[in-house]
């Protein structure tokens, strides 16, 4: 193993070192350095992105690096950049929030960077070992982040529940991997795919292994019936963390999901499809129904994110090239619209957990028309109304399922999208049609960085709603990496 082999790995090395440096900088800067540290972290993400662009891009012929541990392909680059963008936005959104809190920003930013490193490994892992380790790096950082406000009981409880269930899911995942290994004798994704393509007998050890790995992945993307942790973790976590875990890790989990199920396990599609079909249908139905009754916005958005995971799963059920790229596009769109929505929750949260109730949004349009308009756009997009990006995302995913012949699944999803209008529009109704408490109007946080990030999300959501072609093109170039189409 010569040193030159490590060149494509430089972005990851740099990010790890940067995370460590920010950890140390955080100790010396203390609680006052929130904004500076955010900028530093953002800068290191930017450098990492540049490094990916310079050295981490796929080269002809070499698809895996470092002894078959990591893929270097467009699929990996797509998800790496996506998760890094999400982390960057969260970093800027959280700076002011941390400044207002009593907690030190150094560890927070470092943990976000380490989680991002884990997500990058998940997006590019070419071996079950590296995928597992990347997953755990992301998961452990998340547990700590969710419990970061350690003096808030809610934060504690959310973290404990997330941790216990997360550890359970990784136990199941690991057992599944052991069965896979037992059935095939290899941990390498390419070799697994080759072995599966070669054999046409039904192997129950193998199928059970795939199902257990699937359960583990369904947990990570928060799909029913493995969603139990989601509302608690989302509600308990500090809001920027909620924003973070609802997008970046979900996208990374979907990257790993796609890599495994549409990449390595694709030859066994007929065996596992039914499980994913049920999971997708259950997730879409349960997520949307449960969201109807929530009064807490973070909890409502948690169920909404469960529902969105269900929509994305539909693309996996389709199992085609279009299914693959539609999920990739969907994750990108979802990232921006969900981050935007959580940005508004942060904005309304002046201190502690105030401003989380749906009622707190009453009369927002009168007092802050701009903010209300922005929230309206995200609600429209999450509900999937044109001309927002959410509509395009759903359109692609649903049409991939229709093409693959899964009409009923699409019917369920469309009906449930209609149901989702109710809870998204509850907020809109509160904002535009209700009068808030005029004597004591809910204050709004003025934070230029937060405004800028929300503005960015608004722009992307609207832009992709009318002109999704560039993102679709990028995603389609990733299809080839997984050997589909």
């Amino acid at each position: 193993m010569s040193l030159s082999q490590f060149i494509p790995f430089l972005p990851e090395i740099f990010l790890a070192v940067a995370g460590f440096a920010i950890l140390l900088a955080g100790i010396s800067l203390g609680k006052r350095g929130a904004r500076g540290l955010s900028l530093l972290s953002l800068g290191s993400l930017a450098v990492t992105a540049i490094l990916i662009w310079v050295v981490g891009r796929p080269v002809e012929g070499a698809h895996t690096i470092l002894g078959g541990m990591l893929f270097v392909d467009t699929f990996a680059v797509y998800f790496k950049l996506l998760t890094m963008t999400a982390s960057g936005i969260v970093l800027l959104m959280s700076a002011g929030y941390l400044e207002r809190s009593d907690y030190s920003p150094g560890e927070f930013d470092a943990l976000i960077l380490f989680a991002t490193l884990g997500m990058m490994i998940m997006a590019s892992g070419a071996n079950l070992v590296s995928l597992y380790v990347g997953l755990e790096l992301m998961a452990l950082s998340q547990y700590v982040l969710v419990g970061y406000f350690k003096l808030e009981l809610k934060s504690n409880e959310g973290a404990v529940k997330y941790f216990v269930l997360g550890a359970l899911s990784s136990g199941v995942l690991v057992y599944g991997i052991s069965l896979l290994y037992g059935a095939l004798g290899t941990l390498d994704l390419g070799a697994i795919r080759a072995a599966l393509t070669a054999s046409d007998t039904v192997n129950w050890t193998l199928n059970l292994g795939i199902i257990l790995v699937g359960f583990g992945m369904l947990f990570k993307v928060a799909a029913v019936p493995f969603h139990v942790w989601t509302p608690d973790a989302y509600e308990g976590a500090p809001t920027p963390v909620t924003a973070f875990i609802s997008v970046g890790p979900k996208a990374a989990a979907f990257a790993m999901f796609l890599r495994l199920f549409l990449g390595a396990f694709h030859p066994e599609l007929a065996q596992w499809r039914i499980v994913m079909w049920i999971a997708a249908a259950a997730t879409v139905i349960y997520g949307n129904i449960a969201a109807l009754t929530q009064d807490n916005v973070k909890r409502m958005l948690a169920y909404s994110s469960i529902a969105h995971a269900g929509y994305a799963l539909i693309g996996i059920v389709a199992g085609t090239a279009m299914g693959l790229w539609s999920v990739m596009v969907y994750m990108l769109i979802y990232t921006f619209m969900n981050l935007g929505a959580f940005g508004f929750v942060i904005m309304l949260e002046t201190r502690g957990y105030a401003g989380e109730r749906v009622g707190d949004y009453a009369g927002l349009a009168k007092r802050h028309p701009g903010a209300a308009a922005g929230m309206l756009i995200f609600m429209l997009s999450l509900a999937g109304i044109p001309p927002t990006a959410g509509f395009m995302g759903k359109l692609y995913v649903f049409s991939s399922a229709v093409q693959a012949g899964y009409i009923w699944l699409v019917v369920i999803a469309v009906v449930m999208s209609a149901v989702s209008l109710y809870y998204y529009f509850r907020i809109v109704v509160e904002m535009y049609l209700k009068d808030g408490d005029e004597d004591e109007p809910a204050p709004l946080v003025r934070d230029r960085w937060l405004d800028a990030m929300i503005g960015l999300c608004v722009f992307v959501t609207l832009f992709l709603g009318v002109y999704p072609a560039p993102v679709v093109g990028l995603a389609q170039s990733g299809v080839h990496a997984l050997g589909l189409g």
Binding site: V133, Y143, A167, G185, P231
Partner: protein, 114 residues
């Protein structure tokens, strides 16, 4: 080892690992105390380790798969390392929560609905 000894079938250890896994899973479902749940989780991880060790040994016996035989043991190594990390974070979390609430009974969390 004495070459005249009769080796045991790999499946035995696999059955044992399945039994341990199921015991752990039942424990996770039944126990309410956070630390006890975590103990049951460790049992599940160990059952996976056992399965890996057994498979690795089996693959080492056949020349076609011998090249990959060590990978199973490597995975155990990583599982153990990650389990240690998880234990550190999880137990610290329990302590932080205990300081707040003087209980680590997961059913008694009542601020967030379970």
């Amino acid at each position: 080892m004495n070459p005249t000894m009769i080796p045991i079938p790999s499946a035995w250890i696999l059955y044992l690992s399945a039994v341990l896994f199921v015991i752990g899973a039942i424990g996770v479902l039944l126990r309410r105390n956070g630390i006890s749940i975590f103990l049951a989780l460790e049992l599940m991880l160990n059952s996976a380790n056992l399965a890996f060790a057994s498979f690795a040994f089996r693959f080492a016996g056949a020349s076609a798969t011998a090249a990959h035989a060590l990978n199973g043991q490597i995975f155990i190594f990583f599982i153990i390392a990650v389990a240690a990390a998880e234990a550190a974070v999880g137990l610290a979390l329990f302590i932080a929560m205990y300081r707040r609430k003087e209980t680590i009974d997961v059913d008694r969390f009542n601020i967030l609905r379970w």
